[in-house]
């Protein structure tokens, strides 16, 4: 983890403050600007408070940086309740002086305004809280409430400006939240004077599924991802999923792990899969895909490695029962905490949400191997391109964690595999094909290694049987006439088909890469433009203020000289001659 983090520090430029929020540190290339204020804006319910809270809690618990939460909306109890739903003990953290929470109530119905004032009350309370716990981080959630509670916008603007520069002078890293405005980032135009980093959160419904999105609008002096990144709020807080595959620096795997079927290991150069590689197992109904996956998982658990098995088709009970019928009892592994079985229901969530679920499971359970059975059930959730990109990101996730992943793919019965079904075979390191074979009136199953990168693998079709003690690979498949011709031809065909699709995939990939680059470029241009506009606005405001001040000074001089003159005249009149 820490090595992973260190890599995130920028090579040059400003100092950054890690948020500890999953994914956010990656897309912001190392966290928020240290000692500065970051503006987090978005509509109600988009997750501003959750993000701000997690920034403080992680700061306090993971980076030993105590934090002050100034809550304009929720009371301390409400915040504690919300935090508890994410497993955070807010009162406990406050008791240990890791956090301080101050609910600042601004109720317009109770307040009348009469003459000049400032926000010294807020300053004094904030300063006291900072001092009391030695805070390094501060959250103001949300400053929009100040504007709805107090009427004098000019005073508020000036005071917020003063507040932000005061925080800066104290070297505090702050997160300021504000409500999204019509056609601008915040209702009150706060983005004009919190200029270092601006993050926009959004909550949208797409294809009847709701999706949360995060975007770094601006980050002065730093590179940052310009895309909209989907994020989830769950029981472990907020996680942002970086788009892939930006990092191509996965270590090439060298270690090998058994497949769980000894004779399959033999077919794969005698040693099985590479650790951290991706394996596609495709075949028709009942060809034994899940059984193969169960062997793989069982072998991992027997080595004492944690395994994650995600079924997109059956309940976990069904999976266990089916596996028991071929003599694989997974229950002891579940009991020992080595195996996590879970059922994903493709229909109920978007692709992004599923990906995030998997991502979170990987993080919390930390498996060494994982299975998605079958991955084809997700196809209906998006276009080919979207599904393809989901698989790319999935593979990116497993590779960066050195997880060996097996994905099964359902293909229609006896034709050659329908290669367009997932559009992913080219991304997989190893591709196993399971087939029903008909010969001499006998039905057999056949297994064939279509490809396996980085190893000398068998090119033969092997028959196998499913017994009540598991999969058994038999000898080389012999065609109807006792010759290998039938299988040889099939092999040849399959191989040619595979090569053709792979070429096609690569071409498509290049095309989409180009498109993606173009989009990234455009997004960057747009972001630079909006950054420039913000800066221009704030400069203009500054200039205007300076002019005003200049005028006032000039006026003051005139008045003063008038006053002096009067004194002199009076003095002359009264003084002794």
């Amino acid at each position: 983890m820490s090595a992973h983090r260190l890599k995130l520090f920028p090579k040059n430029g400003i100092r950054k403050c890690l948020t500890g929020i999953d994914g956010l540190d990656q897309i912001s290339e190392g966290g928020l600007p240290e000692g500065r204020a970051t503006l987090v804006c978005g509509p109600a319910g988009c997750g501003k408070t959750v993000l701000a809270m997690e920034f403080l809690v992680r700061g306090a618990t993971e980076f030993n940086e105590p934090g002050v939460f100034i809550a304009f909306e929720e009371t301390g109890e409400e915040l504690s309740q919300n935090a508890a739903s994410m497993g955070i003990d807010l009162p406990g953290l406050c008791a240990r002086k890791k956090l301080a929470v101050d609910h600042v109530r601004v109720d317009r119905s109770e307040i009348a305004e009469c003459g000049d004032y400032d926000l010294a009350g807020l300053f004094v309370r904030l300063e006291a809280a900072i001092k009391a716990i030695g805070a390094k981080r501060v959250v103001l959630d949300t400053v929009s409430s100040l504007f709805s509670g107090l009427a004098n916008v000019n005073i508020l603007r000036a005071e917020l400006r003063r507040l932000f520069s005061w925080l800066k002078s104290k070297g505090i890293t702050a997160v300021i939240t504000a409500e999204k405005g019509e056609g601008k980032l915040t209702r009150e135009g706060i983005e004009e004077y919190v200029a270092d980093c601006v993050i926009l959160l959004d909550h949208r419904v797409e294809n009847q599924t709701s999706i949360r999105l995060l975007r770094v609008i601006k980050y002065r002096g730093s590179m940052h991802g310009t895309n909209e990144y989907p994020f989830l709020i769950g029981s472990s807080g907020l996680s942002v999923l970086p788009l892939s595959s930006l990092r191509l620096d996965h270590k090439a795997p060298t270690q090998r792990i058994p497949t769980g079927v000894p004779r399959l290991d033999t077919m794969l150069g005698g040693k099985g899969f590479y650790r951290g590689s991706s394996i596609l197992v495709s075949g028709g109904a009942g060809t034994g895909k899940s059984s193969l996956a169960a062997h793989f998982v069982k072998a991992a658990c027997q080595r004492g490695e944690r395994a994650l098995y995600m079924s997109s088709e059956r309940s976990t009970d069904e999976v266990m029962r089916n596996m028991r019928s071929i003599g694989i009892d997974l229950e002891p592994f579940v009991k020992r905490g080595l195996l996590h079985l879970c059922a994903l229901r493709p229909g109920t969530f978007s692709l992004e949400t599923h990906l995030l679920t998997v991502h979170n499971l990987m993080k919390t359970f930390n498996p060494k191997v994982m299975v998605v059975d079958p991955i084809t059930n997700f196809v209906s959730l998006g276009t080919h391109a979207e599904v393809g990109s989901m698989v790319t990101r999935l593979i990116d996730m497993i590779k960066s964690r050195q997880i060996t992943g097996m994905f099964t793919s359902f293909t229609s019965a006896d034709s050659l595999p329908d290669f367009s079904e997932v559009g992913v075979s080219s991304q997989m390191d190893t591709w196993l094909l399971l087939r029903n074979l008909e010969c001499n009136g006998e039905r057999n199953r056949g297994l064939y290694v279509l490809k396996s990168r980085g190893m000398a693998h068998s090119n033969q079709i092997r028959t196998f049987v499913l017994t009540d003690t598991g999969i058994r690979l038999l000898d080389v498949y012999v065609g109807p006439s006792g010759l290998l011709t039938g299988s040889a031809r099939m092999t040849q065909e399959a191989q040619e088909h595979a090569e053709a699709t792979e070429r096609e995939q690569r071409l498509k990939h290049k095309g989409s890469e180009l498109k993606q680059k173009r989009q990234q470029l455009e997004a960057r241009i747009a972001s630079m433009r909006s950054e420039y506009e913000l800066e221009e606005k704030s400069l203009l405001t500054d200039v205007h203020e300076m002019e005003m001040r200049g005028k006032q000074i000039a006026l003051g001089r005139v008045e003063m000289s008038r006053a002096r003159k009067a004194d002199r005249i009076r003095g002359n009149g009264r003084g002794p001659a």
Binding site: I111, E113, C114, Y117, V124, R125, L146
Partner: protein, 112 residues
């Protein structure tokens, strides 16, 4: 919410009452000119309109931040009318007497 009988060196009470119908508290920040203006203004208003029936306490929040928190002070100066109910807050230097009187429910809102 606001302790009624709390006394500290940062608060000074002006007692000119026997009935004490009006309990007021003015939160200021040290001896800035704005604070001084607010104090002068409220003293004048009380002297003129509440003679003999008020208790005014002045709190310096710079010396006692905890009191600012307890009383939910955001702006300074803030005048709080604790009694009679309902509780009212008037923020600012109290330079507009009519508005202050309206805020204290002593007069209806001035027409502008």
């Amino acid at each position: 919410m606001i302790p009624q009988n709390r006394k500290s060196k940062s608060t000074t009470a002006t007692r000119k009452s026997n009935g004490e119908e009006y309990v007021l508290r003015l939160y200021v920040t040290g001896a800035t000119s704005r604070s001084r203006r607010a104090i002068l203004n409220i003293n004048a208003i009380c002297g003129e309109h509440l003679e003999g029936k008020y208790n005014l306490e002045i709190v310096d929040i710079l010396q006692n931040p905890a009191l600012a928190r307890e009383a939910q002070i955001v702006a300074a100066p803030t005048l709080i009318k604790l009694l009679p109910l309902p509780l009212r807050r008037i923020i600012g230097d109290l330079s507009d007497t009519e508005r202050v009187l309206a805020g204290l429910d002593l007069k209806s809102e001035p027409r502008v």
